[in-house]
Subunit: 232 residues, 2 copies
């Protein structure tokens, strides 16, 4: 009998894709918006490139390390909650049994229907703890190797994403010309990225495509206007 | 009998705090690092302020809208998966019963112990669907009002966080002087923020405090070095 392997697969792919989406969404948007904003204030592409590359370095490190620590602290949180749950089951078995009962009653089952579940679980303490972790606390056992992979995936996606809007400023001058090419290149990248993201995350690809481009566009427009207002 | 109200409370507070942490972590780090990086390349605070404010506008909008769409797409994902699960229960009840059985067997229960659970759930289709959502797919029903609150919380936290490292550049000149004050103010803010974050998220406050300051410091140092290398 297969152990629902499709769930496992769905999950692992989901986490890597989520990390790529996190990194690349911000990577495509923020450096693009910053460069666009500065193009509204200065005409030298070298300042824009300096600011843009500094932003990509800062953003990728901040997001990557942030992702690393988030994954680490999820794992620690899980371990400490599991210990607490184990203790409660050892010391207050009756209260925990009542909690299992309550959970199933809240799902619409009667007390009689819930009793055999409580009985069965109470005979398997390890299974009982795992059950409480998932059902009472909504926590899933995190993969200990996730933290580093997650950090590197987020950081790399941010860098890849960030270099797309910035590359025209290497090649073209003045800033206003580079900006026009950057707008076209980035909107194209956002549309493609949004489409692919939609396919993987289950949102309708075309809608995801438009939404993603819209976020990037709005963020850039706001940055552009603010930079322009300040520099006048 | 209380319906485990502590779980509910824990969850709601957790999500707002998570949003504040997401926004403020990046808000304190990226604008700080960008301003520090530019201070290594230019001496005029007005360019740094322009870039910094453009970054805060772009970052808060990108992160806020990103959070909004993530929450929205979680809700849609939940709805579509729930429909699919409902259909499967209607059309392939036996296969779904076998899946419930498998889940409990994977928790270490015997076939006989699992049978009454399967029976009880199959009498309550709505409860059964909810059970499969949580247990097979690991999905929780998202709050429909989360999306907007989440977006505004993340964006506001980013702006508040970002103005702390940037404010010295309004008040002091040249950039090198403002940078020194910005470093002190931001490290202090990161230490306090890390401490408070640790208290809320269950990590040890002092360790969280040091880690948070370290991320900000590393991101800023990298940005500073890169900007300096480019501008020479």
């Amino acid at each position: 009998m297969p152990q629902t392997p499709h769930v496992e697969r769905h999950f692992t792919a989901g986490e890597t894709i989520r990390d790529i989406v996190i990194g690349m969404s911000d990577g495509l948007t923020v450096p693009f918006a910053l460069a666009a904003g500065l193009s509204g204030a200065v005409s030298s592409t070298s300042i824009i490139l300096t600011a843009g590359l500094a932003e990509i370095a800062a953003g990728s490190i901040a997001m990557g390390l942030g992702g690393y620590l988030a994954a680490r602290s999820d794992a620690e949180h899980y371990t400490s909650e599991r210990l607490r749950e184990q203790q409660e089951i050892n010391e207050k078995a009756d209260a925990e049994k009542a909690e299992v009962m309550d959970i199933f009653i809240s799902y619409g089952l009667s007390q009689q229907e819930s009793a055999p579940i409580v009985e069965a679980l109470s005979k398997h303490p390890e299974a009982w703890i795992d059950f409480m972790m998932r059902f009472e606390l909504g926590l899933e056992k995190p993969d200990p190797k996730r933290a580093l992979t997650s950090a590197l995936t987020i950081a790399a996606s941010y860098i890849v994403g960030g270099l797309i809007p910035l590359s025209p400023y290497f090649l073209f001058s003045p800033a206003s010309t580079a900006l026009q090419i950057s707008v076209v290149a980035t909107l194209l990248a956002l549309l493609i990225f949004g489409y692919v993201k939609g396919r993987f995350t289950g949102t309708k690809p075309f809608r995801s495509s438009i939404q993603t481009a819209l976020i990037g566009g709005l963020a850039a427009a706001a940055a552009f206007l603010i930079a322009r207002l300040i520099s006048r």
